[in-house]
């Protein structure tokens, strides 16, 4: 059964059709990669699914409910987590407080004015940080962290409300190859363990082909291919978009 069902989604900026009649689904517990060259419409797609942008046309069904045009905060409450291409965390808070903030929001305690925020949900926040391997750094200010660690904190924030769907826009951008593999391995493990569905974009082909259950390819705002790693490798249209004609992924750096 599908968790996320996207039907005929479109969005234009001025005269540019950034996303043009895109349809695809994400099944429950699926680890789905969305790839495509720069400007293909991946981030625009993400921003519509997560509510930062309202689509011009089309529907986005999440757990049988059309969430197109809803606000990000309402979509989050339905159980959609998100990490951004450029990591967005709260710089004036510690790593632990970043996760606590999400847990406070999840517990609908945002307008509580008397209790101390730093004492709330500590145990749960530490547990989540443990899962992403950041428990050691719990008391450090987020702004002091290396970028790869900030990405992990962001993942921890996104996991705080037990999302059913996780949207990860280039989760490994700016990471060294080894870090990159570790993070994706971690996410893959979460998918298997908790049954979370993950939609992610990624520029590193080795990561995509090694871990994704399925791959959809976007180019110039349209879906040009949808299938498993083998099928995408063989797909002529995909080759053309990435390499021009004649070359293959066989020669791509692995």
């Amino acid at each position: 059964m599908s968790e996320l069902d996207i039907r005929n989604l479109s969005k234009s900026f001025g005269g540019v059709k950034a996303v043009n009649d895109v349809s695809f689904t994400v099944k429950r517990g699926e680890f789905l990669a969305m790839i495509g060259p720069n400007g293909a419409g991946k981030s625009t797609c993400f921003n519509m699914i997560n509510g930062q942008l309202a689509p011009d046309a089309g529907e986005i069904h999440f757990e049988r409910r059309n969430i197109a045009g809803m606000k990000p905060r309402d979509i989050w409450r339905l159980g959609v987590g998100r990490t951004f291409q450029i990591a967005a965390t709260f710089g004036s808070m510690t790593v632990l407080e970043n996760v606590q903030m999400a847990l406070i929001s999840h517990g609908r305690e945002l307008y509580t004015m008397w209790s101390k925020a730093a004492a709330l949900h500590r145990g749960r926040a530490l547990a989540i940080l443990g899962q992403v391997g950041m428990a050691e750094a719990a008391d450090r200010p987020t702004r002091e962290l290396a970028y790869g660690d900030v990405k992990r904190v962001e993942l921890a924030i996104a996991l705080a409300n037990d999302p059913a769907l996780l949207l990860m826009d280039e989760p490994t951008a700016g990471m060294a190859p080894r870090e990159r593999n570790e993070l994706i391995k971690l996410v893959k493990a979460l998918v298997v363990e908790r049954g979370i569905s993950v939609l992610f974009t990624e520029h590193s082909m080795d990561v995509v082909f090694a871990f994704a259950d399925r791959i959809i390819v976007l180019a110039r705002g349209r879906v040009i291919a949808d299938g498993n790693a083998a099928a995408i490798r063989e797909n002529a249209k995909v080759r053309e978009v990435y390499f021009g004609t004649g070359k293959t992924f066989a020669g791509a750096p692995a």
Binding site: T89, M93, M113, K116, I157
Partner: protein, 632 residues
């Protein structure tokens, strides 16, 4: 009102619009390129009036007047370039707030310089040689000089348009307005470009000022009036848009002219005197425009300016040392009345300090952790003060009730204005809060039957035993300390964290279910309410309240207090307000040139101690601790 009279007022409006446009165009140009909102722009305009006056009276005749106007424009242009070269160049990459304050400091210094050079009297210039007479238009007499002014605005607009669209200099200006980093990266000498733009903008301000001498006397209050008007015009027109500035100048001048033209209109049920709206008309226009079109009539959303302001440390609960210090200070304050016998003035000063602390702490709450730079916090001080005073005046309410009503009135006002303000950010938020504060001020000033107009409300004395300074001081202490502690407690609560989350990263905050605008709105209203307590205390402490005590100067004082202590610390506003209040009550009263002194203090802070007193102390102790750690 006849159609002819109406058209005549409209013509009058057009000549006023030209003056507005000249000063606004320069401000807009400078903002577009350097992203600095130059509050001292009004002071350059004022210098224009004084310098042109000097030329016209010392040299006299056609040369002195017309030649003087040209010479004045050039001189003011050079002064502007010098200001850019000496001061502004150092703060291009500082946080926006510091830039605003630094240029405000210039306003103070220039104002006192003009006082020193030309004296406090209004100076009326001669009439323009060659344009002394008036001509008959629509059955009324219009001075031919006004007719000349009507054409000056469009002429300057045309020249600027040609310069900006056809020349290389203009192309650079447009490019820098869109992305100044990119212009720098392309190898353009930014320093030269900025100085040139500043000179051009200042020249326009000087020209605008010089052209006014045949209509209005040179006056020391012109700087703030001019900058107020120019801001409104620039914000309404869209920052950085020259044609927008002309459009807005015409719109505002015409709305004002219309208000004068309408006069008193009888609506049957009630008579409304529209001339009373002139003070506030422009701010209402601005508020409406900002609400409907947040970037002004012809403005576009600006690309974010990449500031290098250091991110903030996480907040930590007070350590033992700070707690002990707090208790000692509180005990010392409790004991202060014991020393009152030696110096009765001590308690008056103490009350002033406490009121300032509450005022500054409430402003810091939204400015620091909330990231909302309010330039109109005086509004909530005023609502509290007037709310309490009017309740006493008209309902003979006891002091307790009046003091309880003060925060409610301020909270309600902040709730209303805050709803609009939190929809904007940065300079636009600052300007909208300023506009709301001006509206409150103008309402109080103009609504004479209720508020007593410029005389204010008098006779708001506290009843016995609070009429004794000792007891009133303790009352102020009993309200200020819980007020400050409440704000602090809020900052450590989930609500305070949510507010900071919304400031740190609105994108992330919204993506984890936080309604940032609503959180900030509520925070704005709470800060307003607490500020209202300070206002209520002030009214009873002084026994009176007048419009001038809630004017823009008070808002600026609040900003200085917060920055003096340090924006990024929680104890900063308390220290800053105390130091400021003591300075104001002692040193600044002993000199005529206190404005210049205050200005120099601000410049000193901005340039040398940008993190304020407490911030500097914190940095110092941290550095010492690190060094010790390294040594062991």
């Amino acid at each position: 009102m006849t159609l002819n009279a109406f058209l005549f007022q409209a013509l009058n409006g057009l000549s006023t619009a030209s003056g507005l446009f000249l000063i606004a165009a320069g401000l807009s140009l400078i903002f577009g390129v350097s992203r600095i909102v130059n509050i001292a722009h009004g002071s350059l305009y004022m210098l224009g009036t004084y310098i042109a006056y000097t030329f016209a009276t010392r040299i006299g005749g056609v040369t002195g007047f017309w030649g003087g106007i040209v010479a004045t424009a050039i001189i003011v242009g050079i002064i502007g370039a010098a200001i850019e070269f000496v001061l502004l160049r150092r703060i291009y990459r500082a946080p926006e707030l510091f830039q605003l304050l630094a240029t405000f400091a210039l306003v103070l210094v220039i104002n006192d310089s003009a006082l020193y050079l030309w004296g406090p009297e209004d100076l009326l210039g001669p009439r323009a040689p060659g344009l002394r007479d008036a001509i008959e238009v629509l059955g009324r007499r219009l001075p031919s000089y006004d007719l000349f002014l009507i054409f000056v605005g469009p002429a300057v607009l045309l020249v600027l348009h040609v310069v900006i669209t056809k020349t290389r200099f203009g192309r650079l200006i447009r490019a820098a307005t869109q992305d100044r980093e990119m212009v720098g990266a392309l190898g353009v000498n930014q320093a030269m470009l900025f100085t040139a733009v500043f000179a051009l903008g200042s020249l326009l301000a000087g020209l605008g000022g010089a052209l006014q001498i045949a209509r209005e006397p040179a006056n020391l209050a012109t700087d703030l009036i001019a900058i107020g008007d120019a801001f409104v015009v620039v914000v309404v027109g869209g920052m950085g848009s020259i044609s927008g500035a002309y459009l807005a100048a015409v719109l505002i001048a015409e709305v004002k002219a219309l208000c004068i033209g309408l006069g008193v209109v009888d609506f049957g049920l009630m008579k409304i005197n529209f001339t009373k709206f002139t003070l506030v008309a422009e701010f209402i226009v601005m508020a409406v425009v900002l609400i409907v079109r947040p970037y002004g009539l012809l403005g576009r959303p600006q690309g974010a300016v990449r500031s290098i302001a250091e991110a903030e440390e996480p907040i930590r609960p007070a350590n033992v040392f700070v707690k002990a210090l707090g208790i000692v200070v509180f005990a010392a304050l409790l004991a202060l009345p014991l020393f009152a016998n030696y110096s009765p003035y001590l308690l008056v000063l103490g009350i002033d300090v406490l009121i300032a602390v509450l005022f500054a702490a409430s402003l810091h709450f939204i400015m620091g952790p909330g990231g909302m730079h309010s330039f109109g916090h005086a509004a909530y001080f005023g609502l509290g003060a007037y709310g309490a005073a009017l309740l006493v005046k008209w309902m003979a309410a006891p002091m307790g009730l009046a003091l309880a009503f003060a925060p409610l009135a301020a909270f309600a006002g902040a709730l209303l204005f805050g709803w609009f303000a939190v929809r904007l950010s940065g300079v636009y938020l600052a300007m909208l809060t300023l506009a709301f504060a001006q509206i409150i001020w103008a309402a109080v000033y103009q609504w004479e039957p209720i508020t007593g107009g410029s005389n204010g409300v008098v006779g708001v004395w506290p009843p016995a035993p609070f009429n004794k300074a000792t007891v009133y001081f303790l009352l102020a202490l009993a309200l200020t300390v819980p007020g400050v502690l409440l704000l602090r407690r809020l900052l450590f609560s989930p609500f305070g964290y949510a507010m900071r989350a919304g400031r740190d990263s609105p994108l992330r905050a919204e993506a984890i279910g936080i309604d940032v605008k609503r959180v900030h709105w509520l925070a704005f209203a709470i800060a307003g309410g607490i500020c209202g307590i300070a206002g209520g205390l002030f009214a009873f402490a002084k026994g009176s309240i007048s419009p001038e005590t809630i004017h823009v100067g008070r808002s600026i004082d609040g900003l200085v207090m917060v920055l003096l202590g340090g924006l990024q610390t929680l104890t900063g506003p308390i220290v800053g307000a105390s130091v400021f209040a003591v300075l104001q009550d002692t040193i600044m009263r002993s000199t005529v040139y206190w404005r210049a002194l205050l200005g120099l203090v601000i410049l000193f802070l901005v340039l040398i101690f940008p993190s304020g007193i407490v911030g500097t102390l914190v940095n110092l102790t941290r550095r010492i601790r690190l060094r010790r750690k390294a040594a062991t």
